[in-house]
């Protein structure tokens, strides 16, 4: 199929940036979206033009590196997947596809479609861990049984890949689904209880300092999340936060 692409081009962080039109032809429906962009870039390199910069790495939906806003949706029109898992069979011949970066104050554009998501890392530095030394001299792994229901919920929260689709999809650019998932993972496990109070207070504080907005329960984040992280996690974080604030 033949397609028109409208792509955000921005030379660097200080450049103003603009949308530029490109044509690509003979795209197979079996190609992934990023393979379609590979075709475009090969074409640009051969014509001595600058290729479109975009983040990608594992190309199997788990590293969280790819981050495109396609036709007004984070990771494009399909559900439960990242951009690298989006296939061209979701589009048809003659379509015009608009491709932008994930936009948020806390995700400044680096170049073209690449944004800086180090704010996510800094939130994790503030408390996204259990303070246990890595000596291996801990108690036996089966010494504390964990209710399967809680363990499964903790796992579901932990499957967050930190891509930032929740932020890009939110009208307030809120990171509460991302932070809520990490807080929930530890809140649901006995190992996470000891530092629960400090963790939620520190992570939320850092989240606010990074310039992420607040949650107004629209739920767009949950719809666009490639891993289906549930809004429940935001509610759980709010409960944890309230409890921690009262304890002070």
């Amino acid at each position: 199929m033949n397609l028109t692409l409208k792509i955000w081009r921005q030379k660097n962080a200080s450049d103003k940036g603009k949308m530029v039109d490109y044509k690509v032809n003979d795209i197979s429906p079996d190609m992934s979206f990023l393979e379609m962009l590979d075709v475009l870039n090969e074409q640009l390199v051969n014509n001595d033009e600058s290729p479109v910069a975009f983040d990608h790495d594992c190309r199997e939906g788990i590293c969280g590196m790819c981050s495109l806003y396609i036709n007004g949706e984070a990771h494009g029109p399909d559900r439960g997947i990242t951009t690298c898992q989006l296939h061209m069979r979701m589009f048809k011949d003659g379509d015009t596809i608009t491709i932008e970066p994930f936009r948020a104050t806390a995700f400044p554009v680096v170049k073209d479609l690449i944004v800086d998501r180090s704010s996510f890392d800094r939130i994790q530095h503030a408390g996204g861990f259990i303070s246990v030394n890595t000596s291996g001299n801990t108690i036996d792994a089966n010494a504390i049984p964990v209710n399967k229901h809680d363990a499964d919920k903790a796992f579901e929260a932990a499957t967050c890949i930190g891509c930032g689709a929740c932020v890009a999809s939110c009208k307030n650019s809120s990171a509460m689904l991302f932070v809520g998932a990490k807080v929930s993972q530890f809140a649901l496990l006995p190992q996470g209880q000891v530092e629960a109070t400090d963790r939620v207070l520190n992570m939320v504080k850092q989240m606010d300092e990074e310039g992420f907005g607040n949650c107004t329960n629209t739920g767009a984040c949950e719809v666009e999340c490639p891993k289906g992280i549930s809004l429940e996690n935001i509610a759980r974080m709010n409960r944890e936060y309230l409890a921690a604030s009262i304890k002070g």
Binding site: S28, D30, M31, S32, L34, E35, D38, E42, L44, V45, N46, D48, S50, P51, A53, D55, H56, D57, C58, R59, E60, G61, I62, C63, G64, M65, D78, G80, H87, R89, V110, K111, I114, R117, S118, D121, H125, F129, I130, V132, T134, G136, T138, I139, A141, N142, P145, V146, N147, K148, A151, D152, A154, F155, A158, I161, G162, Q185, L189, Q191
Partner: protein, 670 residues
């Protein structure tokens, strides 16, 4: 230089304990004056960075991704082995050690493997304490499953995302130290050289991938945890950015490169569908717990399937060839990866491949769905003979176990694996070869360490499933922190290493020169053009089945391609900006050298072992007819190559392998 593996004396079960009891330690006050560089933040690099920082060293960690959490360890699916024996099925440290040495086709170092088995149980304790949410049973205790090449259930897992959960565990341990200021993290930085001062590794040269800035970083020791080199085949299950550059630069600075030809071709991957393809996707080995692999027995059925006039589920049971169960009754669908891959190739070469390209076999869950469905119906007191109900219940069980893998498959192939068997074919997945290291995980360059997949040490000629995660974390959490201390104890009076020296200046200039060459060369072809060509040569002539003629041709063709690359490669843009083509050019340049050494090593090893299959070395008769034939008399050694300029000039050093605790014998999975 003679190779000294520095294996401690004494009985195998006491070596590691005695070693730890007698090494030199660095006191906490002195650790604060010692810097360590760690390149790569996967399971090995990430766990090492966290642990060394926790011990008190000043760690600088580097990764090319935008966050350490994205290293490709994250894509590991199935699980992690540990000799916990929670199932009471006869597992032990010795048995894990034995299985790993046998699975590696007797080409690994006994002492290293025993140590790995010994610390494996600690990994699980450690990860649970960090909040890694492993799968649990209803009683609240940890669940296990079984992997290829073993007869016990020792694999711990978190659905099909075990690598992700373990990496996020290591990442969280790093975050704690980054927050404390003990790790200084450099994201989006690529290492482009190792700097040696007075013969010791004392730093690295990096390029900031955003700004193009070339930087000098110094330390008292340098650790590489930079993963494998499967992308030399262009198409592999590796991430797009996975590369050999760090390991190769180390090789050029004096680190021997061991067994480059040992590559794991994983049997269960989604087949290649066209030239546009940029990577291949793995379907976890855990699927072989429940999936049965087959092709049709009759050629007319094969043709009907290819023409889409017949559906696989309509082929009668007696017309199916479950070739793994037929050839290997003892292990069936759970034979090791190398054996399963070769068997798939054998059937497809014989013309029984089931897709348009003739390179695919079926992985079928119908029996498992029925089996689980009946079990569920029985438990719930429902009608076990109601086929529709049984199917529905069975599908639910399978979905719980492998849901994310089935979804991945469906998104890529556009077929529903709950109702029609998956089509799979082998693909390049893991490299057992890598930088040579001694028992201390130190390379032949003093002060330069190599851990995880990037080194060669533990998996011999074939890695067993769920052992890569085990090795990465064992090296980083529990082995390196001891061994590097012994070395650094000599550096307590050294003081900070200056980067304002001739050695750093020379290395930086060399790096700059190469980058300038790329952006000013007026070539015709993109980097990918050359990378794809290299991949084709490697897959066709240095792939799953190798012979003298093909290997000799490959060496000549790679040499020629390399010359063409340096004449004709085209890199747009400048060095002073984000320039992915430039980063790729440097990586492919190194793959073009490694590829030749790889073929040379395969040519030198005139035996079949593990993932290295030589057509001229097979069993000619008896029960094992047609199986790979090792030559222990002449090839029970590690081939460690010394850099001498062109790959063709590389000098071979042999580390003779000694088997004192395990008897060398032909691997049998019959």
């Amino acid at each position: 230089m003679a190779l000294d593996s520095k294996i401690p004396k004494g009985p195998i079960k006491d070596k590691w304990t005695d070693y730890k009891n007698h090494i030199d330690l660095v006191n906490p006050a002195n650790k604060r004056n010692i810097d360590v560089i760690i390149v790569g933040t996967g399971l090995a690099g990430g766990s090492a960075a966290a642990t060394l920082a926790e011990l008190g060293y000043n760690v600088k960690a580097f990764c090319f991704q935008d966050s350490p959490r994205r290293a490709h360890s994250i894509a590991a699916q199935g699980g992690i082995n540990a000799a916990k024996n929670y199932q009471g099925d006869g597992d032990s440290t010795y048995r894990l050690f034995y299985d790993t040495v046998k699975g590696g086709d007797y080409r690994s170092r006994e002492a290293n493997v025993y140590r790995l088995a010994e610390v494996s149980a600690n990994i699980i304790d450690q990860c649970v304490a960090q909040g890694v949410p492993f799968a649990r049973e209803y009683g609240g205790l940890l669940d296990n499953r079984s992997f290829g090449g073993v007869l016990v259930s020792r694999t711990f897992y978190a659905a099909g995302q075990t690598g992700q959960q373990l990496l996020l565990g290591a990442y969280s341990a790093m975050n704690r130290q980054i927050g404390r200021g003990k790790i200084k993290m450099y994201n989006r930085h690529e290492m482009l050289d190792v700097v040696k001062v007075d013969g010791k590794a004392r730093g690295i040269i990096t390029r900031n991938l955003i700004t193009g800035e070339i930087e000098r970083h110094s330390a008292h020791a340098v650790v590489l945890g930079t993963g494998g080199y499967g992308n030399v085949f262009f198409l592999s299950t590796n991430a797009m950015g996975s590369n050999v550059t760090a390991a190769w630069k180390a090789h050029k600075r004096g680190a021997y490169f061991a067994n480059p030809c040992y590559t794991q071709i994983h049997p269960t991957c989604i087949p290649v569908s066209g030239d546009h393809q940029s990577k291949l996707t793995l379907m976890s080995e855990s699927l072989r717990n429940d999936g049965r692999i087959w092709v049709p027995k009759k050629m007319e059925d094969v043709e009907a399937i290819r023409n889409k006039t017949l559906k696989p589920k309509d082929i009668a049971e007696e017309d199916r060839d479950y070739y793994l169960e037929r050839r290997y009754p003892a292990f069936g669908n759970l034979v090791p990866r190398d054996v399963a891959s070769r068997a798939a190739k054998e059937r497809c070469d014989a013309g029984f491949g089931v897709n348009a390209t003739g390179e695919a076999v079926f992985l079928d869950f119908a029996s498992a769905i029925t089996r689980y469905g009946k079990e569920q119906a029985h438990v719930k007191g429902l009608n076990e003979n109601d086929a529709a109900l049984v199917k529905k219940l069975g599908q639910e069980v399978v979905k719980n176990k492998y849901g994310n893998l089935f979804q991945m498959y469906e998104k890529i192939v556009d077929q529903d694996p709950y109702n029609t068997p998956m089509m799979i074919y082998p693909a390049v997945h893991y490299t057992m070869g890598g930088v040579w290291v001694d028992y201390n995980l130190m390379t032949t360059v003093p002060g330069l360490y190599c851990i995880g997949e990037a080194n060669f040490s533990d998996h011999g000629a074939n890695r067993l499933g769920a052992s890569a995660l085990m090795q990465g974390l064992a090296d980083g959490y529990f082995v390196l922190p001891y061994t590097i201390g012994d070395y650094l104890s000599n550096d307590i009076r050294t003081g900070p290493i200056s980067t304002e020296t001739k050695e750093f200046e020379d290395a930086e200039n060399e790096v700059r020169e190469k980058l300038n060459f790329f952006v000013t060369n007026e070539g015709q072809h993109s980097v990918d053009y050359f990378h794809k060509k290299l991949g084709k040569i490697m897959w066709n002539k240095v792939g799953m089945s190798r012979n003298v003629k093909g290997l000799t041709e490959a060496i000549a063709e790679i040499k020629e391609l390399r010359a063409q690359f340096w004449k004709d490669v085209k890199v747009p843009g400048t060095n002073e900006e984000y320039n992915e083509e430039l980063a790729k050019a440097g990586r492919v340049a190194d793959f073009l050298e490694l590829g030749e050494l790889f073929a040379k090593d395969a040519l030198n090893r005139e035996e079949s072992c593990g993932g290295h299959f030589r057509e001229d070395s097979v069993e000619l008769d008896g029960e094992q007819k047609g199986e790979a034939l090792r030559d222990d008399e002449n090839f029970a050694y590690v081939a460690a190559w010394e850099y001498k300029g062109e790959p063709s000039d590389a000098v071979l050093h042999k580390e003779q392998l000694e088997f004192k605790d395990i008897e060398l014998k032909q691997r049998s999975y019959k």
